[in-house]
Each structure stands twice: as C-alpha cells, then as structure tokens.
C-alpha cells in the first residue's frame, strides 16, 4: 500500500501522522488510532442531519430512554425535535421554545428528568445534561434521534450517548456517539442496534468540551 493511502487511513481513523514518509511510523500511527479511538462528539446541523437507529427499539413500561445532550449558550434555535418513534410522534421529546422541553401528548413518556430531577427545561449552557424519559405503557418506541419522524424538524444539539433501560434499570441498549473513527455509523456497546448519521459529511466532529 502506498504511504499516502496509509496516511489517509490514519487520519480517517482519527489518528495523527507523525512521518508521512516512514511506513513503520505510519503503521504505528494507525495502530495507535485504532487502539485508542479519538473521542469526539458530532454536532447535528439542525437542518438536514439526524441519527437513524438500525431498528426501532420498543421500550418497556417502567423503562427509560436516556440521552446525554448539550446545547450551546449561543444557540438561538427553538422548535426542535430530540427523539421520536419512526411513524408518529407518540413517543417524542421536543422543544416548544428555547429550553422548553415537552413530551408527546400520548403520555408514553410520562416524565422527563434532567440530571435526575423532573424538569420541563433543558438549559442551553454549553454543558452536557442527562435527559431521562420515563416510559409508561407498552407502546413506546424510539427510532430517530435529533429529528421528527417525518424530518420536518431537527435538532442542533450535540448528543453524546444514547441508552435504553428496562424497568429494573438495566441498560438494554447503549450507543456512544463519540467514536470518530467509526464515521457515520456508531456501533452499539450494549444490544445490537446501531446509529447512523443521515447526511453525514465528516465535518461534524469536534472535541469534547
């Protein structure tokens, strides 16, 4: 393989090229990148991008959907969708105005906790907050993060990770959305459902704040 191609692989894997003319150094760079993946977060553009789960997840009654989500203090966006099911907004979390969080009217999400406390706002404060959606009934599902089911609304926040818990609190699905080397499709660490960023370009990544 040519050195320039190897250098491209190193960069695509989130690594740093130490010497582009030294094949052994390039291989070492590549190994370092693969063994210690670069942890970054992907900023959704609030217009075209969202995370599509590889299959819709049914969330059991008493379980929860959790996101680590950050909005910049400079963000002026208002009407945005954080998550929905695939065919309707029965299971949904969205903003009705800046910082004002609401769940879909179906009641499938019976309560929203921000950092463990029941809340109706998410501060736009450059800090990640854990949002926990408490599920009631057996009809809740989630398939899309960062957009409405028909894609007329998006999110311009940064989602660092996604989890689903059962009614005992056990994590049954988890997808860290922080592995730059994996690119558009971020792989599950618990369960078999992955997340793919639609309309991904590779320009979305930024260091953790």
């Amino acid at each position: 393989m040519r050195n320039d191609l190897l250098a491209q692989i190193v960069i695509a894997s989130g690594g740093t090229v130490t010497n582009k003319d030294d094949r052994n150094a390039l291989l070492s760079d590549w190994l370092a990148a693969v063994e210690s993946p670069q942890i970054e977060v992907a900023r959704l553009d609030g217009a075209t991008q969202y995370w599509q789960l590889s299959e819709e997840i049914s969330v059991p009654s008493g379980g929860s959907i959790e996101l680590d989500l950050m909005y910049d203090s400079a963000n002026q966006s208002e009407i945005e969708y954080v998550l929905t099911s695939e065919l309707n907004s029965d299971t949904s979390l969205f903003f009705t105005s800046k910082e004002a969080l609401r769940a879909g009217s179906s009641g499938y999400i019976s309560d929203v906790l921000v950092d463990g406390v029941s809340a109706v706002t998410l501060p736009y404060d450059d800090t990640f907050h854990t949002i926990k959606c408490i599920i009631s009934g057996d009809l809740a599902s989630v398939g899309i993060l960062g957009a409405r089911f028909n894609y007329t609304r998006n999110s311009s926040g940064v989602i660092k990770s996604f989890r689903v818990r059962d009614d005992s609190g056990l994590v049954i699905n988890e997808i860290p959305l922080t592995n730059k080397a994996q690119g558009a499709t971020q792989l599950a660490t618990v369960g078999s459902v992955n997340a793919t960023m639609i309309n991904y370009t590779g320009d979305e990544w930024e260091p953790l704040p």
Binding site: D45, T48, S92, F94, T96, R148, T152, N199, T201
Partner: protein, 94 residues
C-alpha cells in the same frame, strides 16, 4: 462546518438521488449537504447547471418561490431560516 446546495427536485431525481438519497425536500427543491472540502469540486462538476451563492434567506426564498433553476450554494444559518419559513413554528410541533 458543511456546505449546502438547494437544487431543483427534477435534477436530484435525474442525477443525484443515489449519491444523496436522504436529501430533504423543501417545496420543489432538495437540500444536499457535503463536506466543505468537496464544495469546490461539486461546483466545478455541476457548473453548467448555473450556480449562485446566496447568504440572505430572503433571497433564497424568492429564488425558490419563483422556481428558478440554478443551484443555490449556502451555509447552514440561512438554510435553517428557509426551512423554518416553509415549515412555520405553528405547524406540526406535536
């Protein structure tokens, strides 16, 4: 940052549906999103379509409402305004 292009729906169907299968639909246009580094190549490849770079969302909306054919190259801020205009806040919130 990424760069965006608003192009006529029929051109997307004819030429770019496979490369940009999830391009959002706004009126009779599709929105393409691509890396900044690709912008120059894309503009070169499709220059015969006519390309305008607009930063004012008002100009972009006028362009779309009179159904002009040249591609519009734009950044995300005016794009959000355009999408908001065609999907106003009172519509489909819940």
């Amino acid at each position: 940052m990424s760069t965006y292009a608003i192009i006529p729906q029929e051109q997307w169907v004819d030429e770019l549906i496979e490369r940009f299968p999830n391009a959002p639909l706004i009126q009779n246009y599709r929105v393409l999103v691509f890396a900044d580094a690709e912008a120059g190549q894309l503009k070169s490849d499709y220059s015969e379509r006519g390309i305008v770079e607009l930063s004012s969302y008002i100009e972009i909306i006028e362009h779309m409402e009179v159904d002009l054919k040249p591609w519009v190259i734009l950044q995300v801020e005016p794009l959000r305004e355009v999408m908001q205009y065609f999907n106003p806040p009172s519509y489909e919130v819940i």
